[in-house]
């Protein structure tokens, strides 16, 4: 934490005694936001599980093509997580060129994920799934499916915008390593959420 870039985010009381909590304010704020967002996602995922359990004719629509696509998306996300960590390591070392490069690779993988995600959506829409109807079972399914995955996609898109802005800003010197680290925190968080979405939404409802 000794890099001067890290000491961002507001005014620090100068001679404060060492405290285990004394992390940069913007990083703390990101952690707090993540805690809050965990609650929001938890509410959505619990609601999904609650409705699925409470509804007898819940559809099981996913065939192997969907599952393979979802697994590919997962591999892409996990890879991007790893690459984002390399961006953070470069940023901590003050290596702006490499930090920028890895951030952009993460961004590219994220965009690929989003494209596959949207393709997945169009596949569902093509099969006749709307927010209130679908060919297989309870009309509730479409709303629940699009809400949970849409929430994830919305977060991914927000993170991609952040990656772009922070990546360019870090390259030009406008932002510091702490900002890259914050982006990383958010990106890793979203990827972890995806690990909950995949089994709950997809793996539990593979067509028999």
């Amino acid at each position: 934490m000794s890099h001067p870039d890290v000491a961002l985010g507001g005014h620090h009381a100068p001679a404060m005694e060492p405290s285990p909590f004394a992390i940069p304010a913007i990083k703390l704020a990101m952690w707090l936001f993540i805690i809050s967002d965990i609650m929001t996602f938890a509410a959505c995922l619990v609601a999904y599980g609650f409705l699925r359990n409470a509804t007898p004719n819940w559809p099981r629509p996913y065939h192997s093509s969907t599952i393979i696509s979802v697994l590919v998306m997962t591999v892409i996300l996990v890879t991007s997580s790893l690459i984002m960590l390399m961006a953070v390591r470069a940023a901590r070392a003050g290596d702006r060129a490499n930090a920028f490069r890895w951030t952009m690779v993460t961004l590219a993988l994220g965009i690929l994920f989003a494209i596959l995600h949207v393709r997945e959506w169009f596949g569902m829409i093509g099969q006749g799934v709307t927010l209130s109807t679908n060919p297989w079972g309870t009309g509730l399914f479409g709303g629940a499916y699009f809400s949970v995955t849409g929430m994830e996609l919305l977060h991914v898109i927000a993170a991609l915008i952040a990656l772009l802005i922070i990546g360019l800003g870090y390259k030009s010197g406008r932002y510091g390593a702490a900002h890259v680290e914050n982006c990383n925190l958010f990106w890793q968080f979203i990827n972890i959420v995806w690990m909950f979405v995949v089994p709950l939404v997809y793996l539990m409802d593979i067509a028999s």
């Binding site: 005014h11 009381a13 409470a54 399914f141 809400s147």
Partner: protein
């Protein structure tokens, strides 16, 4: 001489324009005052709504002058329809819970005093803080706009239970656009509170001045910190719930609408949802919300009492741990609102246990207050009177909680006025007394002038008696089987209760009118009160080391250094004072009362 370190603290410059200074200000003190004024406006609106309801409950066929102008359909000829009664009830509760009980003790006082009490120049994210207020204000305006859409505001109550809240216009007036506006307003409110909570928590963890260890934080700062931890997590659950509710209205989904619902002989074209899901999501937020309203009051009251008792609490640590326990347990008890919902009876048992457990920390706090007060020479002023009133209301309202915590009794009482009496006393009036106590205590600091103590004491006694006259009889009504949420009592067994309702209505009109004394005192003192010294109550915490009102950068560009906790009262000092300020290096001499 109080020592301050000479570190420069150039965080943001002084505001230069009127807009920057008073409207879009990033100064936490201005934002605190903005929140306070928002709460004042909201409480007046909420109180007038309760007046209208009480008049209708006492004299069902009475025409209320001017009401027709507000809603020609809701109150033809000034006599409100049953639906309009419910619409007013919904708005009264929503405004009071969100824009008064959450806004005033937490956002208003917390914004103003949390950074000061931690020794910070401002919060770490002043722009987020400014946005937090303006987003909250937007939420309020959106909510109030429901009065002006065609069918008026929603009638589903502040809990907005599904399917009533989810099926749209078929459910009654206000359930179309009004309900969507309601859910939108609360979603916006949640964003505002998230921004506030981020700032509060990082202020406490990151911005404390030199020497201000966590254990030296004043109890009020702790209370705001604990509350913001709750706010961070609870509102995050309400927001998706509101979004799902909006989707049910506008996107044709049916998250909260069950299959085969027939309303007015029409099959509702939704299928598959769960009405219970809304209750689970809502109350997972809703119960912590109750503590979001009351914990800041506990902190304020403890802070006011310890200053006026001139000696430390028996155990400040026990109060702090109890407040944490309240916050933690508040997430585990939410199902006690759902004993009659059709939830599995075993779940009721599971929720009943922590509900009874949560009475333990509440009781510990009350016992420490009373034990510390015992034998103390409490300085009687309006702030300390309202603090005592808080304890009285909290106990009176809390005791009925023991009854309601048990499913077998709750099933009998749940739909009656007993519950209305319970929550009005324990989270409504008690929290209001906390707000009043804080107002009389901190007004000199916030506005630089003293409030009129005589008027303040008259205000206290009339309010104290008045609120008991309103809310105690609610409990009797509940025992007598008086169902709540009814607009009129025309059934045979309810008719004998009407005189009691009339008494309550008179008490409500009277107590409401008494608040004019407060408003007069507030406005008059603001402009004509005696100038306030820096430390009128001889307090020890950091807000009292600065001029009244404080300069824009709080400590005049210097960082204070703290040597003590905020409980150095009843001590013997070389200067003869019975207290030591937190930033004074002076040590207490042996032989003080506080030893």
């Amino acid at each position: 001489m109080h020592e301050v370190s000479a570190a420069p603290a150039a965080h943001h410059g002084p505001p230069t324009t009127f807009i920057r200074k008073h409207v879009f200000s990033t100064d936490h003190k201005v934002i605190g005052i903005q929140y306070y004024h928002l709460a004042l406006v909201a409480v007046v609106v909420g109180m007038v709504l309760s007046w209208l309801m009480r008049i209708h409950l006492g004299w069902t066929n009475a025409a209320i002058p001017g009401l027709q102008a507000l809603s020609a359909n809701g109150a033809p000829g000034g006599v409100m329809t049953p639906e309009y009664y419910l619409q007013l009830m919904t708005m009264h509760a929503t405004i009071m819970v969100f824009f008064v009980l959450t806004t005033a003790p937490f956002a208003a006082f917390g914004n103003y005093f949390l950074p000061i009490q931690t020794g910070a120049e401002d919060m770490p994210f002043p722009h987020f803080n400014m946005m937090s207020f303006w987003v909250t204000l937007t939420g309020f305006l959106v909510l109030v706009s429901a009065f002006f859409v065609s069918d008026g505001p929603p009638l589903a109550g502040w809990t907005s239970y599904a399917p009533l809240s989810a099926i749209g216009k078929a459910a009654g007036p206000g359930q179309g656009a009004g309900q969507v506006i309601w859910a939108t307003a609360l979603g916006i409110f949640c964003v505002g509170q998230l921004l506030g909570a981020l700032n509060f928590i990082s202020t406490v963890l990151d911005m404390r001045c030199k020497g201000m260890t966590l254990s030296r934080l004043p109890v009020s700062a702790w209370a705001w910190f604990i509350t913001s931890c709750m706010g961070l997590t609870a509102f995050a659950v309400l927001m998706p719930a509101c979004i799902l509710l909006i989707l049910d209205h506008v996107a044709g989904t049916s998250f909260f609408i069950p299959s085969g619902l027939v309303i007015n002989d029409q099959l509702i074209p939704h299928s598959g949802g769960s009405t219970l899901l809304w209750q689970h999501l809502f109350w997972f937020f809703g119960h912590p919300e109750v503590y979001i309203a009351i914990v800041p009051g506990m902190g304020i009251v403890t802070h006011v009492l310890v200053t006026n008792m001139r000696r430390p609490m028996l155990s400040m640590k026990a109060i702090l741990y109890s407040m944490w326990a309240l916050a933690f347990l508040s997430y585990m008890v939410y199902g006690h609102h759902m004993f009659v919902s059709g939830m599995n009876p075993f779940s009721s048992l599971v929720f009943s246990f922590p509900t009874l457990m949560i009475t333990i920390p509440s009781t510990i706090v009350v016992l420490i207050w009373i034990g510390s007060l015992y034998g103390s020479q409490l300085r009687i002023n309006t702030a300390s009177l309202f603090a005592l009133g808080f304890i009285s209301m909290f106990v009176s309202g809390g005791v009925s909680g023991f009854f309601l915590a048990q499913p077998s009794i709750d099933i009998m009482l749940h739909a009656t006025y007993f519950v209305v009496g319970h929550f009005h006393m324990v989270m409504g009036v008690a929290a209001m007394f906390g707000i009043f106590s804080g107002t009389y205590f901190w007004f000199p600091k916030m506005y630089g002038r003293m409030m009129d103590e005589t008027l303040g004491k008259i205000h206290f006694w009339l309010t104290f008696v008045g609120t008991y006259c309103i809310f105690m009889p609610f409990h009797y009504l509940g025992w007598a089987g008086n169902v709540r949420r009814y607009a009129a009592f025309t059934d045979d067994y309810l008719k004998p209760l009407i005189p009691l309702h009339q008494f309550i209505s008179v008490a409500a009109l009277f107590t409401g009118a008494v608040q004019l004394i407060f408003i007069y005192n507030f406005i008059n003192s603001r402009f004509r009160g005696a100038p306030a010294p820096p430390n009128p109550w001889e307090g020890t915490s950091l807000e009292w080391i600065m001029p009244s009102p404080p300069p824009w950068n709080n400590f005049g560009g210097k960082d204070p250094v703290v040597y003590h906790d905020a409980e150095q009262y009843g001590v013997k000092t070389a200067s003869g004072a019975d207290y030591i300020m937190q930033n004074s290096p002076e040590q207490a001499l042996p032989g003080g009362d506080g030893d």
